[in-house]
């Protein structure tokens, strides 16, 4: 409490109040708030705590480094194998870390092989039997382990051509079958590499693979090791996923069949993930700082200062943003990335901070804030990470800026269009989140204890008010519907990503309803907020007008995102459910398809906004009706196109 003075804003070196509106003095105020934020935040961490933190991080670093060498050992000995030492497969069970061998005399099996104290039994005559609920899984792992064991044996052989009798080269080649358009996406395939035998990858350079350490790379056949195409299916990895090296999968130089890697940039992805990690810690501090202002009315000091709300928020956010950019730059330098990586991560940092800011403005307590920040972390990390997995597989990956980082690390070039496509939604989304938060960054909302939904309604209404003040009350549904597009887009994308793995029979209906509900919600929630806070007359006529305007706004916004279709998302059946089918080439259908959504959006928006004029329950009912209409429409269009 000793630090009760606010920053001395304004009078100190601004000679009079008249200078307040100058751009320079605005900047000066902003800078001062930012400086104050830094001193205040660093002030809360005393030296002892800092020391403890440094020691902890050092220990994590050292142990983590050592652990990374040895592997995590998460799947050590999770299966038990009954096998005698005389059995040739005994060595496999010993070498593969997932298995614990026991002698056959100790094996007990009951219920006709339904249960027992082992998962696998290797009889002396070479048969392999599996026992109990995990027997099949164990068998599968064991099968792979045999492969690795063989690789290890062969690696020790002197006669390389005999041990590695098959060499494979892999080329990706474009062929134009008119299946889908790939705009703004670089062709990776180069035709016909030199299939010259006798030179190329010696199979394995992956030091982590215990079964086949240091290989035959230096033998008489003149093979050279190619660092770009390292990696063999390794068996000591925690995930049951082959460990594929950093290359894009193109393998023009021949290698053993085991080195064939599907296009998956595992290493680049992990590195890109590193860039996201610090954000999760920074937003904790940032959210805490915002929340602090709201407790015991501490933020009042700043509110009464000549600084505007936007300046206060910008000033408080700036140090964290700069800190994140600095951290990102440091990480990017250490992993040999370029400016593109920093530019790709920047909007993500902005979005992290924006979401945390809005969340901290809505939360009622620290506990709630903790969950808000965890939700932000999880959702945004998912948003960044999931699409990036498909970096080299499908253009949908470009949705996430991490894909740009992966490209950057792989040394591929990225065009401006691609950058804008990846980050546009993020920039827009963070701006909207900051606007929402700033809307309630005022005396009557900051210190009030309201449930989060009521706060969100207030935040939306404050945007309605500012639009009303600048243009007209009826302009607000138009603008707000457009602004909601990035969130609709993000939500639907996450839906696609999460439902991707589920069988279509379940995923499609869920996705149809989910996508329609998200859109209907986005179109009507702000109108409902306006009615709930009496910003509009609660008449059906006004409701219908607002709904119509909202529908038009949403339609126009959505057209802007049709870029999605150009990059090929609708090729996934789940994607179709979310974003509608790909554009047909038939001109008449095209025109109909172009304008039908306009009608749809207006009709459904009017349904829910008219419902909104009569309070919460009727809004909820109307919303359900609108969603159903929307789903039916989508089904109809898909039936028509198909």
């Amino acid at each position: 409490m000793s630090r009760s003075e606010g920053p001395s804003i304004g009078p100190a070196d601004a000679p009079g109040d008249g200078a307040d509106d100058g751009f320079a003095s605005k900047l000066r105020r902003l800078g001062r708030i930012a400086r104050w934020e830094v001193t205040r935040s660093t002030g809360t961490i005393d030296r002892r705590t800092l020391l403890i933190l440094v020691v902890m991080i050092a220990v994590i670093g050292v142990v983590g480094f050592v652990a990374a060498e040895d592997g995590l050992g998460l799947d050590d000995e999770i299966y038990v194998v009954g096998v005698d030492e005389s059995n040739p497969y005994h060595d496999v069970a010993v070498e593969a870390n997932q298995f614990r061998p026991v002698s056959l005399s100790d094996v007990e099996i009951a219920d006709d092989g339904e249960s027992g104290n082992v998962d696998l039994v290797l009889t002396p005559d070479g048969e392999i039997g599996y026992v109990g609920p995990n027997g099949e899984a164990a068998y599968d792992v064991f099968r792979n382990a045999v492969g690795s064991y063989n690789e290890g044996l062969m690696a020790a052989e002197n006669d390389s051509p005999a041990a590695y009798p098959v060499f494979v080269s892999l080329e990706y080649q474009d062929r134009n079958l008119g299946l889908f358009a790939e705009e703004g996406f670089e062709t990776e395939g180069e035709t016909a590499g030199d299939g010259e035998p006798g030179s190329g990858d010696g199979g394995d350079t992956d030091d982590d693979t215990e079964a086949d350490d240091d290989t035959e790379a230096d033998d008489d056949s003149g093979m050279t090791t190619d660092p770009d195409a390292d990696g063999m299916p390794s068996t000591d990895d925690g995930l049951q996923v082959p460990d594929i090296g950093g290359g894009a999968g193109e393998q023009t130089a021949p290698g053993t069949p085991g080195t064939l890697s599907p296009p998956f940039p595992f290493e680049a992805l992990v590195l890109a993930f590193l860039l996201i990690v610090p954000m999760n810690f920074v937003i904790q501090v940032y959210g805490g700082s915002i929340m602090q202002e709201r407790l015991k009315r501490r933020g009042e000091l700043l509110l009464v200062s000549p600084a505007s709300r936007t300046e206060i928020v910008a000033g408080k956010t700036l140090p964290y943003l700069l800190g994140l950019v600095g951290l990102t730059a440091a990480i990017v330098l250490s992993i040999d990335g370029g400016v593109l990586s920093i530019a790709a991560v920047f909007p993500f940092a902005l979005l992290f901070l924006g979401a945390t800011f809005a969340g901290a403005m809505f939360a009622r307590s620290f506990k709630e804030l903790t969950f808000v920040t965890v939700t932000v972390s999880v959702v945004l990390t998912t948003y960044a990470f999931v699409p990036a997995i498909f970096s080299n597989v499908t253009p949908i990956a470009l949705i996430s800026p991490l894909t740009l980082v992966v490209f950057d690390l792989q040394g591929e070039s990225v065009e401006l269009v691609e950058y804008l496509f990846s980050t546009g939604a993020l920039y827009l989304g963070s701006v909207v989140l900051f606007l929402l938060g700033i809307g309630v960054y005022r005396e009557e909302d900051m210190f009030a204890q309201k449930p989060i939904p009521a706060k969100i309604i207030d935040a939306i209404v404050s945007q309605i008010d500012s639009i009303t003040a600048r243009v007209h009350a009826y302009a607000s549904p138009f603008v707000l519907s457009i602004l909601s597009i990035p969130f609709v887009f993000g939500a639907q994308l996450l839906g696609v990503a999460l439902l991707f793995a589920i069988p279509d029979a379940v995923a499609l209906p869920v996705m149809f309803v989910f996508a329609a509900a998200v859109e209907e919600f986005a179109k009507s929630i702000h109108v409902y907020a306006g009615f709930a806070r009496s910003r509009f007359d609660s008449t059906i006529r006004v409701g219908a007008i607002l709904g119509g305007i909202s529908g038009i706004g949403f339609f126009l916004g959505e057209k802007a995102t049709h870029a999605v279709q150009l990059v090929g998302i609708p090729d996934l059946s789940v994607g179709t459910a979310a974003f509608g089918p790909a554009l047909s080439s038939e001109p008449l259908v095209l025109v109909a398809l172009f304008f039908a959504p306009l009608v749809l959006h207006i009709v459904t928006a009017v349904i829910s906004t008219v419902g909104a004029t009569r309070g919460r329950t009727s809004y909820a009912l109307a919303f359900v009706v609108a969603t159903i209409v929307h789903v039916l429409y989508n089904l109809g269009v898909i039936a028509l196109v198909a």
Partner: protein, 382 residues
């Protein structure tokens, strides 16, 4: 004026003089201490309920579970064609030495082999989409079979195709090695027949299950940190301290209220997994493990919150500490996640049981250390 009032006041006071109010019998006092502890626990749980934080917590766990399952199911599908049902894909086999390759490839699930004598025909068929890959097999001087493979640049399907081709070529490699047996010092072991097995089992036991079991414990710890920071921030801690119960009671109540949630959540997750067909061999050991961990973590959280009462500081210390513990635990003879996997698959060894006992002892020890710390805590520092 004031003199008058004081006089009449004191006069009236004499007449209404009453004895000490609350009954001060000892047994009554100890009963009411239990009453008070229970009230504290109830309030803590109610506040979780009314803030809907627990719902959020569970939603987050669900999301993480869905997310990580997605990651793995997605990833595994890419590498394991059997996990994705798909139609047979035609591949062109051409070159000088195609017999072995064609024989092996046609055995492979999901691949249909078309043989082309002319390389150009094969590529033409590829361009027209009649086949999805061209495999050009030739022997080199040393007797190696060199296969030039051309696949289309077509996203996910290609990925699946490449995996199928790899399997076929690995089988080819094995048969070739057997043919070279006389030149090899050690014979490769024959790879067992493939069977239909869930490719997700390893992931479920070693990643998903530990995640679902540990997460509630970590959230519990975080809730203790927040709860104590909040009491202090609001000043309610002072009210609890003037009430007739010790500060140890207050901290205990918070630990009980939050630590008890984790084993319950863990039990629910285990039940759900069991319903979904993931066999859990030793559920009670796992719930016990989670209980021990959550007490341990919650006690550490309380200690951190008391050491650094400012929330930003304590949450930072706590989260770095948790990440640190996870990393440092790799130095244990058995990683906690590995212990969980072993209990779940029924492959628990003596080490696993020792580890479980160790966590229990560590929890008890941490609890004692926390009590000792709370007792000697300067009241003013709060």
């Amino acid at each position: 004026m004031s003199r008058d009032r004081a006089d009449t006041g004191s006069a009236r006071r004499e007449s209404i003089q009453r004895g000490p109010n609350p009954p001060s019998v000892d047994t009554e006092a100890s009963r009411s201490v239990w009453h008070a502890r229970w009230a504290l626990i109830r309030r803590e749980l109610q506040s979780l309920r009314s803030e809907k934080t627990i719902i959020l917590a569970i939603a987050i766990q669900l999301f993480i579970a869905a997310f990580s399952s997605f990651l793995v199911v997605g990833l595994v599908s890419m590498y394991d064609p059997s996990a994705i049902e798909g139609q047979e894909r035609a591949i062109a086999v051409t070159g000088e030495d195609t017999d072995e390759l064609a024989a092996v490839a046609s055995q492979q699930d999901g691949l249909g082999v078309d043989r082309y004598d002319d390389r150009a025909d094969a590529h033409a068929a590829f361009e027209e989409g009649q086949v999805d890959a061209v495999l050009d097999a030739n022997r080199d001087d040393e007797g190696r079979l060199v296969v030039r493979t051309t696949v289309p640049d077509e996203g996910l399907q290609t990925t699946v195709l490449v995996v199928q081709l790899r399997e076929a070529l690995e089988t080819l490699e094995y048969t070739e090695r057997i043919a070279n047996a006389d030149r090899l010092a050690e014979q490769p072991l024959s790879v067992p027949e493939a069977i239909e097995a869930s490719p997700y089992a390893g992931f479920t036991y070693t990643i998903l299950l530990p995640l679902l079991l540990f997460l509630p414990a970590f959230i519990s710890g975080s809730m203790v940190v927040d709860s104590l920071a909040e009491e202090r921030q609001r000043g309610t801690l002072e009210l609890l301290r003037v009430a007739p119960l010790s500060f140890v009671d207050v901290v205990d109540a918070k630990l009980v209220a939050t630590a008890v949630l984790a084993p319950i959540q863990a039990a629910v997750w285990l039940a759900l997994l069991a319903v979904n067909g993931t066999a859990i061999a030793q559920p009670f050991a796992l719930v016990g493990l989670v209980a021990a961990l959550s007490v341990l973590v919650a006690a550490v959280g309380a200690g951190v919150a008391l050491y650094a009462p400012e929330r930003r500081q304590s949450q930072l210390l706590y989260s770095v500490g948790i990440v640190g513990t996870l990393v440092v635990s790799t130095a244990l003879p058995e990683h906690p996640a590995n212990t969980v996997a072993k209990f779940a698959t029924g492959s628990a060894t003596a080490t696993s049981w020792l580890a479980l006992a160790g966590y229990g002892i560590a929890a008890a020890f941490t609890l004692l250390a926390l009590r000792w710390y709370v007792d000697r805590l300067e009241p003013e520092s709060l």
